[in-house]
Subunit: 133 residues, 2 copies
């Protein structure tokens, strides 16, 4: 990325996305489902930070139902659950990432970084074809 | 991929997806939109093969409205249209991929291949964490 592009991206409002360069995303498909992708990775991190599915959903501006469905898909795609819900106790419920969830998340982030790095040069060429103004 | 996994993937029915190994997909995001991804790449190829948006939509089992919206998004994300609709003439309508569309498609497929190759080893490890039966 050139210094000019980096500055442009930084100064662009995240809400409007104007001036943002194109960016690659990677998803890991399993059968017909997205086992892991940017949305599910964000949700795992938010559950880790907030300690609950509902608080994570609120933090990401998604419905509790949607967050729950994403968690359910992840839990079914892997050999054991990535998110564990806790019932009762002092905090009355809540959720946490399992060790497998941590491993899946860190391996996904690593693959995402490698995939992004592998297309950096191509992406610069691709950007010239886009409606970047 | 091990020989056993490859055989398993080959013999699996595409419809059920059972025994299919996880696979990566790459999407190029531009602002809030998917400028190019597996679905749009398939649509471009189908338009190229069928010569029309409606025939391409039918071939992919999607509604004409959805195909049209995907084409519209692509056309707006790039500096010029990727798909051109033809009015009148002997064929009465129809659509074709522009030179820019061809270039975008081939550059995307190249990035997809590179990204996939870059995570091949990680993906094998990742697969061991999945509910592959």
């Amino acid at each position: 990325m050139s210094a000019a592009t980096a500055t442009k991206a930084k100064s662009a409002s995240a809400a409007s996305g104007r001036g943002e360069p194109p960016r690659p995303q990677i998803r890991i498909m399993f059968r017909k489902a997205i086992a892991m992708g940017p949305g599910k990775a964000d949700l795992l991190r938010a559950i880790e930070q907030t300690g609950s599915i509902s608080a994570a959903a609120r933090a990401l501006g998604m419905s509790y139902r949607r967050a729950w469905l994403l968690v359910d898909t992840m839990n079914q795609c892997f050999k054991a659950p990535l998110v564990e819900t806790l019932t009762g106790g002092q905090k009355g419920g809540g959720a946490q990432i399992t060790d497998l969830g941590q491993e899946v998340l860190s391996r996904y982030l690593e693959m995402e970084a490698k995939a992004t790095a592998s297309v950096q040069r191509d992406l610069a060429e691709f950007t010239r074809l886009m409606a970047v103004r």
